[in-house]
């Protein structure tokens, strides 16, 4: 019986304020609260609310046969708590159906797994506590920021009690067809579920076919049926934005996400599973050994790949170089600022891979160029480290 694991990811960073070299030492307003609030309001209205409405409708209509998993970054949850209760409520209703599993990740959408195990563990624990208090779920499913995966990430996740980890980059692994669960090297209980890149991208982007017709739900279901046999699992992982973008409905895409589950469930043997259910019901097909850090294909277009360019490396070195001193302040506010600066988005904005045609990130990128992004962040970090030094009594 083939299964689909549908996973939707929601995250919005706190936007950085315009901050230049001459602000160092003069201003500790690093984040643009007003701008962040406006962006959130827009995304909530255009994306989160309509998407959750659709999902709730589908869950009710299919009476337990349609199941999904969501991840909402801690950074976004904190923003929702402050000003978008309606969105928070819509997530809560999804959680209450019992058909939506909330997946845990680093709370501040950071790349801490690359730089600091301590910080990584703390952020995961933070997010787990937050999800538990908001949605009453204690889940055993984990995803790292950007679906970044490696043996170390798997090891840490297992040691923290997770039983399944969502990952990307299967296309870069030899002999991994991304239609089954695997056992990470060195793990005993944890299973890894890889994103199926082709189907996920087809679902998200719905590219025009040969007849220049948009992909229909029927056609997509047919392709899935052709592509999966036996007990295989198709993992469709995507961002909330691609699922709930109302701009698409304007171009005649009405209802693709809405129609697709019904079409697939009509094919007798198909079903939807949450990641934890998939892990519980399937044995691993083999062992996967990833010594380094695995980024999923296509992540370089948004600038999320490692090792990064000179600027990304420099900011990361500077940012995580502050870790001990930030902790030493024992100041919750300062630690919070430091964590907010870790959001992966800030690193994406420094990508020089595609400076001319980075339309994907255009909408969420407040910077004119990757160089501006770097200058902003280094200026902020310079100011921040000076303030910490003042606090701990050492010289900056």
């Amino acid at each position: 019986m083939p299964s689909v694991v549908l996973h939707l990811h929601a995250h919005l960073p706190l936007r950085l304020k315009k901050y230049g070299f001459f602000d160092i030492g003069h201003s500790q307003d690093y984040f643009d609260g007003e701008e962040s609030r406006q962006v959130l309001e827009r995304v909530a209205k255009d994306c989160y609310l309509p998407a959750n409405r659709t999902l709730l409708k589908l869950i009710r209509r299919h009476r337990g046969n349609f199941r999904i998993s969501c991840s909402v970054s801690g950074m976004l949850l904190e923003q929702l708590e402050k000003g978008q209760n309606a969105v928070l409520e819509s997530f809560r209703r999804l959680a209450d159906t019992g058909c939506a599993e909330f997946v845990i990740g680093p709370s501040h959408h950071s790349l801490a797994s690359l730089f600091s195990e301590t910080e990584f563990r703390e952020q995961v624990a933070l997010h787990r506590r937050l999800v538990r208090s908001l949605f009453g779920q204690r889940t055993q499913a984990f995803r790292n920021t950007g679906l970044v995966y490696g043996n170390d990430v798997a090891r840490i996740a297992e040691s923290m009690g997770f039983r399944v980890i969502l990952a990307g980059g299967a296309g870069r692994l030899h002999g991994c067809d991304a239609k089954a669960l695997y056992r990470p090297a060195g793990c005993r209980k944890l299973k890894v579920l890889f994103r199926h890149d082709r189907f996920s991208d087809e679902f998200a982007l719905r590219p025009a076919g040969a007849e220049r017709q948009d992909l229909t739900a029927d056609e997509f279901a047919r392709r899935l049926a052709e592509g999966a046999h036996g007990d295989e699992i198709i993992s469709l992982f995507m961002d909330y934005e691609t699922f709930g973008d109302i701009n698409r409905t304007a171009t005649g895409m009405v209802g693709f996400p809405e129609a697709f589950p019904a079409v697939l469930l009509k094919r007798r043997n198909w079903r939807f599973l949450t990641p934890s259910a998939a892990a519980a019901q399937h044995a691993p097909a083999g062992e996967i050994d990833v010594p380094g850090q695995l980024f999923r294909a296509g992540s370089e277009t948004v600038g999320l790949t490692w090792p990064g360019n000179h600027m990304q490396m420099d900011v990361a070195r500077t940012l995580y170089g502050l870790e001990d001193r930030v902790r030493a302040t024992k100041n919750r506010k300062r630690i919070g600022v430091w964590r907010n600066l870790q959001a992966s988005d800030h690193f994406c904005h420094m990508s020089t891979e595609n400076p001319a045609g980075g339309e994907i990130q255009e909408a969420s990128n407040p910077f004119a160029s990757p160089y501006d992004a770097y200058i902003h962040q280094m200026s902020i970090l310079k100011d921040f480290s000076g303030r910490i030094a003042g606090k701990t009594g050492e010289r900056p």
Binding site: H310, P355, S369, Y371, Y374, M378
Partner: protein, 452 residues
């Protein structure tokens, strides 16, 4: 009138007309991969290396070289200027007037014809004094009425040339060449392409000279097609001169690495940083913003040295302002630099700044990048359309400029990334690419002419 030829195998035989016909080189035509026809181009300009004072001559050199490499033949006409060491430019032999330096031989296929005229696109500082008596600069800092006589004379001479050489297309650079091109078109009936590198609006900063504006407008209106060096310039042509946008094609300039580029291993004092402004010190180039930003930078990074290289009518004011700000010891004026001096200056710099108020293209940042110097450019420049790995500022935003100068001098990762990425970007910005685009324009006008 004299004609000059350099390194042309057939140059010694026959009169000019005959020689031009002998250039219909069958072998070259066959070399063309795409089977397109090669053309004879009559080009009018102001300056041609090695006698140049601005970016135009360099641009013409690179452009013509690439066009010739694609099989086209070019007759390049320039007005010549009698310098002190050249008492009689009229009797001048062209080979002497445009001596081919060791590294800068004229590409095969380009003929340079000087016309007797004291025209120059830009004046070096020394020249201002020289011409002031001759009333060329009677109105301070700008062109005098005599200039228009010169333009006319240039035009009439061009008519003579047009009668004696054969060509398919007239390609004229800048407004000074417009009367020449119009004469040539009247003589020959060949299509005329007006290549706009700068407009009076860019040069004057508001105080537009109505005579120049009129020549520009006439050129734009009468040209069979217009080439603009940037979208920035194109929009100005469309909006301020009322020209149909379809008639204007954008061809961005490129830059070619000089032979000596790698030869300058300048040794600097450890930790000393040099920030360079290199260009005419005129309103258009925004030197005042550079000076003000320098003062801000020095308030936090007192060890930086600023260099203003070039000359122009605003130079005295800049010197005064630097003194007033009390930063004379950290702010140097070099005066007008030539050839090797320019290259050495680039090589010695840590950062190049072009805060132009209005810059149709602006080739200098590309030249700086050839020396692995990171650049800050104003958003009000055409070159910012093609450069992605440069820091950009609005020219009036002195705070932003100063902040970015500090950032570039403080954080190595920033400049390393810019320099490495710029190398890749420069490889794509070739004159070969520009020549292909220009060729498309030639084809278009010639086909329209022939009713194809």
């Amino acid at each position: 009138m004299t004609q000059a030829t350099n390194h042309l195998p057939l140059a010694t035989t026959g009169p000019l007309t005959q020689r031009c016909f002998s250039y219909r080189n069958v072998e070259r035509m066959e070399e063309r991969v795409d089977g397109a026809r090669t053309m004879q181009i009559l080009m009018f300009g102001w300056e041609f290396p090695p006698t140049i004072s601005g970016g135009l001559g360099t641009a013409c050199y690179g452009m013509t070289k690439a066009l010739v490499e694609r099989g086209h033949r070019i007759t390049f006409v320039v007005p010549s200027l009698p310098g002190p060491e050249r008492p009689s430019h009229v009797a001048l032999l062209a080979a002497e007037d445009f001596p081919a330096g060791p590294g800068k031989a004229l590409p095969e296929g380009i003929t340079v014809n000087p016309v007797d005229s004291p025209l120059r696109p830009y004046m070096a500082e020394a020249d201002y004094g020289m011409f002031r008596e001759g009333s060329l600069l009677a109105s301070p800092g700008h062109y005098g009425p005599n200039l228009f006589d010169e333009v006319r004379r240039y035009g009439e001479a061009a008519g003579l040339i047009a009668r004696r050489v054969s060509f398919d297309v007239i390609h004229a650079h800048e407004w000074l060449s417009v009367p020449a091109a119009l004469h040539a078109r009247r003589e020959s009936g060949r299509p005329f392409i007006f290549h706009v590198h700068a407009l009076e609006f860019d040069r004057s900063g508001g105080g537009v000279n109505p005579g120049i504006f009129a020549v520009e407008r006439q050129g734009l209106a009468e040209a069979d097609h217009v080439i603009a060096v940037s979208h920035f310039t194109k929009s100005m042509i469309v909006e301020r001169y009322g020209i149909d946008a379809d008639k204007v094609t954008v061809v961005h300039n490129a830059v070619s690495r000089g032979e000596a580029a790698a030869a300058y291993g300048v040794v600097k004092a450890q930790g000393e940083k040099i920030v360079l402004f290199l260009g005419r010190i005129t309103h258009q180039k925004g030197p005042v913003y550079f000076v003000e930003a320098a003062a801000k930078v020095l308030s936090v990074l007192p060890e930086v040295t600023f260099v203003m290289a070039g000359s122009g009518d605003l130079m005295p004011r800049m010197v005064e302002r630097v003194a007033e700000l009390g930063m004379g010891s950290r702010f140097l004026f070099t005066g007008f630099l030539r050839g090797g001096e320019v290259e050495r200056m680039y090589a010695a710099s840590d950062l190049y700044v072009m805060p132009s108020v209005s810059e149709p293209f602006g080739i200098a940042p590309l030249e700086a990048m050839l020396y692995d110097v990171p650049v800050i450019i104003s958003r009000q420049s055409g070159v910012s359309e093609v450069l992605h790995h440069a820091l950009k500022v609005d020219f009036w935003d002195v705070d932003d400029l100063a902040g970015k100068i500090c950032a570039a001098l403080t954080w190595d990762a920033l400049t390393r990334e810019m320099v490495e990425r710029s190398r890749e970007e420069l490889r794509a910005l070739t004159w070969g690419r520009a020549a292909r685009q220009i060729e498309e324009v030639y084809k278009k006008v010639v086909n329209a002419e022939e009713g194809v």
